[in-house]
Amino acid sequence: MTEIKALKNEHGNGMKALWKHDWYKSGVKLVLLTGALCLLVLCFYGLSIYAHVGLTKGRSYSVRLSMDFYDARMLPIWLLPLITTWIAGKMITDDERCGWRKLCMAMPVTSRQYVTQKYLFGLAFMGASMVFVLLCQIVYVVWVGVFDWRYLTMFFLRYMMVFLTVSAVFTVLALWKSFGFALLWEFLLLMVLPAVWLTVAGVFSAPRLTYAFFRIGDMIEWLYYKPVGIVCGGIGSVVLYVLSYLLCLKIAESKSD
């Protein structure tokens, strides 16, 4: 009976406690940040719709400006995987700094629970972001009146796969780095600088070569022009995520200070 209770605790209550901890710690901040990001995405979509409608109705817009916003609607979306990663990583580094992980490991919470909760947290945020972007895209397609199934299948799926891969790559890097070293500043540099560059490069049209080099999404997007790319990319992202999870688990279990 005690064993069953303990097993239930291992897979249930301990995780619940960890979720609660992260929610209490940064729930409000997270909601505000996500809200601000979603608002940003909405603004870009709104401008894109405005520009598109303007173009189709022959309004005298600056073509450059219109095209920029038409293409740029996807830009702020790239911030979502970066922010996802940043939040998951920051939570780990904060835990490390205040000694919460050490306390957890000394309490009836296992390292498996701890790592799993952080990964699920990253996945949940990533999933929520993807759903939000999907809704935006549907609204966009309906609003501009180009109701082509390709927009919602191949075209959009392609974007989703890019999104998933970028999220997976960044999350993998960040969680692995955080568990390995837990150095916040190093981590911030790794995460924030590319994000800033992406935005700057996207909005101000930086030279194409550097733009493509830094904009990892563009390169991955190229891979997804064919259906086989979408399938392989999806599977690859999931495999990457699972492998990273197992690696983090190993690091956390063998971690000694």
């Binding site: 005690t2 064993e3 209770k5 303990a6 605790n9 291992e10 209550n13 301990g14 619940k16 406690a17 609660k20 901890h21 209490y24 710690k25 940064s26 904060d94 835990d95 205040c98 000694g99 919460w100 050490k102 306390l103 957890c104 490991m105 000394a106 309490m107 009836p108 919470v109 296992t110 063998s254 000694s256 200070d257």
Partner: protein, 281 residues
């Protein structure tokens, strides 16, 4: 049953080795782990709690090996670290809500009793707490799930004498139930002297002694003597010596000294200093 049983425990770090430590803490007792900074007290506690893997040796807590289903055993262990480990953004209410899910036997009523007793603010964030308040919250957490073994790493470090006294009283109350045991590490020897039944001395990763406190007082004494008297003492009886203005002060094993001598009693702090220095010549 023993609350703690450690057999030949060793752990090697760069420039430090915890070497072949064996000790036993019977149920219902308080053991003080004394040692200078860097002696290996925190390493030993980390090993006990499974936070670090030993190179060799075994550890049993509450009769269970700490490598097998330790998360079950941990339900009965309360832990207080030097840094409490609570996130700075949390408040006492949130801590209670989290701990409710961590420990099956979490006793909310008892937790709130401690919170009131310690005069801790319920809604203030942990980062606004003073060191004493933080430590009190850590102790309240460790004592509110009917733990059978309490492990405390330097809990009185940096606390003012009033709070230290309060903590010591709490520990005495805790061990009134004879099934409850405490391992407390500190380099403030006077605190441990008041409450401990057993004493373990750690010095540079070596366990110098692990014994009942009263037996230590019986077994060891201080002898004031001249250089000639010192030379006549059996070498195996000498633990350490100290040159003073008034002659030699020697810590000896009373049973190993023959003849009539006027031993003066020795306190733990002095005992530890003599043992750690180990000067015999």
């Amino acid at each position: 049953m023993n609350a703690i049983k450690i057999n030949h425990l060793s752990k090697q770090y760069d420039g430090f080795r915890l070497d072949n430590v064996s000790l036993t803490l019977p149920n219902g007792m308080i053991m003080g782990l004394i040692g200078e900074n860097g002696a290996g007290k925190s390493t030993l506690i980390r090993l006990l709690m499974g936070l670090t893997k030993p190179d060799s040796g075994t550890i049993q807590l509450l009769g269970q090996d700490n490598r097998e289903n330790f998360h079950i055993t941990k339900q009965d262990i309360g832990i207080v670290f030097d840094e409490t480990g609570i996130s700075p953004e949390l408040n006492v209410r949130q801590v209670n809500s989290i701990m409710k899910d961590v420990y099956e036997k979490w006793d909310e009523k008892q937790f709130w009793e401690y919170v009131r007793k310690f005069d801790l603010p319920e809604k203030k964030r942990f980062k606004t707490f003073s060191r004493g308040m933080k430590m009190k919250l850590g102790i309240a957490m460790a004592l509110s799930h009917h733990a059978k073994l309490l492990i405390m790493d330097e809990p009185t470090n940096g606390l003012d004498p009033l709070v230290r006294d309060e903590v010591i009283r709490l520990l005495c109350d805790f061990t009134r139930d004879e099934s409850c045991s405490v391992l407390i590490s500190s380099h403030i020897v006077s605190d441990l002297e008041k409450i401990c039944d057993y004493i373990a001395f750690l010095h540079k990763g070596q366990l110098l002694i692990s014994e009942e406190k009263d037996r230590l007082y019986e077994e060891y004494g201080i002898l004031q003597c001249t250089a000639e008297e010192y030379a006549a003492l059996p070498p195996e009886s000498i633990i350490g010596k100290n040159d003073t203005h008034y002659g030699l002060e020697v810590m000896v094993k009373r049973s190993a000294v023959s003849g009539e001598h006027n031993f003066s009693s020795i306190d733990l702090e002095k005992m530890f200093v003599f043992m750690a220095r180990g000067e015999k010549t």
